[in-house]
Amino acid sequence: MDGVDLDRILSSEEPLSPSSGFAAGVMDAVRTASEQPPPLPFPWARFLPGVAACVIWAIAGVAVMQGIENDDALAIIAGRLAAVAPELGSVAVVLALCLMPIYGPRLTPRD
């Protein structure tokens, strides 16, 4: 079989006719698809503050650990933590303020 035969065979196929109910079946499927609600978008508004909070807490943790890494007495860790507690508290307050516009409406009662 040469290229000419191949061209002839592949170009000469008899076309299929659609089944009688094909178009109606397609339109039923299309209507069903159009009635489905659109897919939920990814919740970036919740995801990004969460990631930001994790990063801030990680940085704060590293800062705390760096402050105590040269000390060999675990007993002073509590004292160190106490010293940075106001900073951590400030971070927590800032985070809470950032998240409030997002989560606040969920906490208020609906009528």
């Binding site: 040469d2 191949l6 061209d7 592949l10 076309p15 299929l16 094909f22 339109m27 299309v30």
Partner: protein, 174 residues
Amino acid sequence: MLAGDTAAFSAIVERWQGRLINLAWRFCRDRSMAEDMAQDAFVKAFKALATFRGEALFSTWLTALSLNCFRTSLRSRGPVTVNLDLWRPAGLEPSALTTIENRERDELVRQLVATLPPRYRDPMVLFYFQEMSVAETARVLGLPDGTLKARLSRARDLVGRRYAARMSDRKGSA
């Protein structure tokens, strides 16, 4: 323009149903499966209609979208197998036998195309489907013309070799 308009979309289905079924048929060689694949492609086209910007011909856009849909269906349904029924009724006239043998040969070649790896199968099917030009086939596949021609050439070689191997097996088993 027609996004979300099911009534208007029915005109598209009426207009393009034959083309999509026949295109799907050339990929799977199974009528029922071809209609299922074409239906999936229409539903996908309906959902994606808003993304059609008119930069390409509607036929090019619909064919490219359908091709993606068919590839996904074919991947999930497993490989197409070559399956020819070699049974022949007894007492056939020589001319009738020749006709049957020619039809079997043609069908074997078409099935061999459907079983090629996708990178060779897709150009081959599209190029011969309604005699699309090299440029149009390349546009649908998103390939440069030269790459498409190379793949078509390689695909023809593969089909020719597989056909020869098949014939050799058949003679060996006869």
